[in-house]
Every structure is written in C-alpha cells, then in structure tokens.
C-alpha cells in the first residue's frame, strides 16, 4: 500500500506515477470506444440492409479481430507510416478491435428492429433521415449500448498491451512489475484497470438510462401490460 501512495503522482518507469498512467489509459481507451461506436453505426446499418455488405464487412472485421494485438500494433505503424511508439498506433489498432465487436452488435441491432414500427413510421410520413435518427437509432439503442459495454471492457484491458511497444498506460505497471518481480505493482495495475472498466461501464449504463427511458419502463411494466391484456380479453 505504501508503494502505491509513494508512486501515485511521481515514480514508476516513466515517472508520471500511477495517476499519470491512469490518465494516459483513460484517453487511450476512451477514443477507440467512442470511435468504434460511431463508425460501427453507419457500417452496421449498411450491413443490416445489404446481404453483400453484411458478409464482406463482418468477415473482414472477424479476420482483423483474430490478429493478435501485438501483431496489429506492429502492422499499423508500418501501414500508416507512423513511429512505432506513437499513441495513434494504439488508438487505431484498438478502434479496429472495437469495430470488430461493435459492428456485429450494430448489425444485429438494426436487423432486429420491428418491421411493423419501421413501416408505420414510413407510412405516416417520416423522411428516410428522420426515420433513421428518430426511430431506428433510438430503437436500436439498447442493443447498441449492450455492445458498447462489451467493447468498453475489452478496450480498457487491451490498452495495457500498448505498454509493450512503449506507449504509456497502466500496462507499464504490469511490465515493470513483471521485470522487477514486484507483485504489488502488478496488483495495483490490475485494480486500476478494473476501476476504469467499472467507471466506463457505469457511464454507459447511465447514458442508456438517460437517453432510453422507455426501455426500462417498458420492460418493467410489460409484465403488467400482458396482465392487462389478459383481463381485457
């Protein structure tokens, strides 16, 4: 415990302390989560509407997902012509992983929309753009957010791999702790990563509660509504 307090703001191998590494970790994981989410929505929508797009997109990202992260972290800078220790490499690589997971969720989310509701919105005069933003996107929301939660956890843990190519994150604690055979440092790293994952998960759940109030109420009361239908029948 003393080690944690002594190294909270300074110390560790890059001398930014646990807190500094946590901040690095936060933005290195936040960007791929957000980018993966935003990019997957149009791709998933496209995939849910075209069988060709679906099979091509899903297989390409499935293949990319099977690449070990350390390989991707080497391939990305070579492809993009970036220095190998640039944080952009980590962000690009993790965004690819994020899309690989998120795209499937997004495709499922848009494919499983009630056709009755989509048709009805067309019939009463939503334009295609209004239909997407006011009907399809909100209704896909619960499945999209469930996907985002998976992506969030996996991205937060994957960021640590960046430490092995020299991009600072809480992974530094694993690397350093391993090389000096110092268990406390590794444990501190694990706990810090877990806390970030929990915080991000809570934020996503909270966003869902705020943006999709109907989702909770509907599921809580659907049992009651079913009962009502029984009675009126």
């Amino acid at each position: 415990m003393d080690w944690v307090w002594n190294n909270f703001f300074t110390g560790t191998d890059s001398n930014v302390g646990i807190w500094g590494l946590t901040l690095d970790h936060l933005w290195l994981s936040a960007l791929p989560i957000v980018l993966g989410f935003v990019i997957s929505i149009p791709l998933g929508y496209w995939a849910s509407h075209s069988r060709v797009a679906r099979s091509i997109l899903l297989s390409v990202f499935s293949i990319l997902y099977t690449l070990p992260s350390i390989v991707l972290l080497v391939v990305v800078p070579v492809t993009l012509g970036l220095p190998i220790i640039s944080p952009t490499n980590v962000i690009v690589a993790l965004t690819i992983y994020a899309i690989a997971v998120m795209l499937r969720s997004a495709t499922d989310a848009f494919s499983s929309l009630s056709q009755d509701v989509v048709e009805a919105s067309r019939a009463i005069g939503f334009s295609p753009l209004q239909r997407f933003f006011r009907v399809e996107l909100p209704l896909a929301g619960p499945v999209l957010l469930a996907g985002a939660r998976v992506v969030s956890v996996s991205t937060v843990s994957l960021v640590t791999v960046g430490s092995f190519i020299g991009v600072d994150s809480l992974g530094n604690l694993f690397r350093e702790g391993k090389s000096t055979n110092f268990g406390t440092e590794i444990l501190a790293g694990i706990i810090a990563v877990l806390i970030i994952a929990l915080v991000y998960d809570s934020i996503i759940v909270l966003i869902g509660r705020i943006l999709l109030p109907w989702n909770r109420r509907a599921s809580r009361r659907s049992a009651r509504a079913a009962e009502l239908r029984e009675v009126s029948a």
Partner: protein
Amino acid sequence: MIEFKSVSKLYADGTHAVDNFSVVIPSRKTTVFVGSSGCGKTTLLRMINRMVDPTSGAIEIDGENIANTEPVHLRRGIGYVMQNSGLLPHRTVIDNVATVLFLTKVPKVEAYARANELLDTVGLDRSLAKRYPGELSGGQQQRVGVARGLAANPNILLMDEPFGAVDPIVRIDLQAETMRLQRELDKTIVFVTHDIDEAFLLGDQVLILEKGAKIAQRGTPEEILANPASDFVASFIGADRGKRRLTVDSKVKAKGNDVVLIDAGGYAAGVISAPGGKLAVGSASPKSRSVSNKTSQAGDG
C-alpha cells in the same frame, strides 16, 4: 375521391400482385377491400400513399395523379392505421398521437392540445397520455393508432386490417367506434380486411377481391348479399354453405312476437320479431353513416 385507373403491380419475380385494377372510391364513404391473404388488397391500399408505386396505370386523388406528389409529403396528409398499431415504442402515447404534427412543424403547444382532443375522440382516458405503448392493452394501442391516423385531420384514412390482432370482444368495440367516428368526422375511409362480416358491417362500398386484385364483385353489402355475382363470391360470403340463408325455427318458441332464425346448417343465427306471424320489414340503410358536410374540401368530388 380516389380513382384507380388500370393499375398494375408486377414484381420482379413475375407475380402480378395487382392486374389492371380500376375503381372509384367515393369521398366520405367507407370502402372495404376484402379478400383472402395474398389477393393484393394490402398492396392496393399501400399504393394510395405511395408506400408501393404501381408498375403501370395511375392513381388519382381528386383528379391529381399522386405520382406527381412527393411521397413523404403525400403520406403526411393521409391517415394510416395498421395491424399491431405500429406505434413508436420509445414515444409516449401523447407523442405518438402528435407525431405527424411534429413532422409538419406544428408548434408543440398546439400539437399537444390537438393530441389530447384526439384521445377524447377515440375514447381514451387522458391519464394514459404519458404511458408508453408497451404499457397499454392491445385494444388501447389500436385506439392510439387511430388517434395518430387522425392527427393531421386528413380527409383520407387508410386502415390495413387494423383490428386483425385484437380479441373478438375488443374488435366489436373498435368496429363500433370506427362507425361512430365515420359518422362524426366524415372521412374517406379505405379499409382492408379478410373478414367478410367486418366488411359488411363497415362498408358503404365493398369490393370482394380474388388473386391479382381482380374484382369479383363490387357493391353495397345488401347488393352483394342479395345477388352474389359468382360462385367465388357466394362461397366467400358464406352463401353457398347456407350461412346467410336463414329460416324460422319451427320447434323453439321465443318470447313475445319473436321467432328464432336458424341457418341452413340448423344452427341458431338470431331472432326476428314476427307480430301476427308476419316478419318485420326493415330498410336496407340501417347505418346512416354518411351525413354530408356543407363545406367542400379535398377528398370531395
């Protein structure tokens, strides 16, 4: 007035969903398309608001070819009620009713006021306004669907098997409501159903359709019942099975002047009063649904 002029719909696989269909749908009356599933009746309905565009032929509303009207604009001016309500599950009841008003940029206060009135019109308690559709019964959802269809005060209301998925008791209720609304609001209603009893109950004009939306017979319910045009029609309305041919039951005594009627199968179908042994005579316009408005508006003519 809605007019179909030699309308055909050919799908890519070569099936003729609609084959050379022509008919005039008069304003302020209820016209019912009735037929078995796959006969093209829903396709016809969806052509009126350009959910489906015909392969050939034209559809005119008050003499204007709707192919010249932008579909989104056209749809906002035509009420649409479908099976399973098609309500937006993420919007409250009141927002669902006001949807079309929001789309046409009616100010919020005005839209909500109108939506609240519509809840009254369709017989829903205003306390349901803040609920989500998932929290309502099937019958209530269908009423919200009707209210939404009426929100923009359209002259034309399209109803696609709106009561197909509710239980029989609620359905009878909703049918009665539809007749009341038609009496009060005087809309041009085009109604699609596969239920001939519903068609006869609601229709001023009934079109019995065969495959390819071929008109087997068109007329008032009375005309069709009195003179089925073909064996197909006779079979469809149940005349050939004797379901519509009623005779007086000689064995059972009902109270007062009533006698019990049975169909050809020997099943009880109803009672009729027969004072002094003579059957009561009625006139064949019992519904008095269409009381014409004085002002003329689109949908007339």
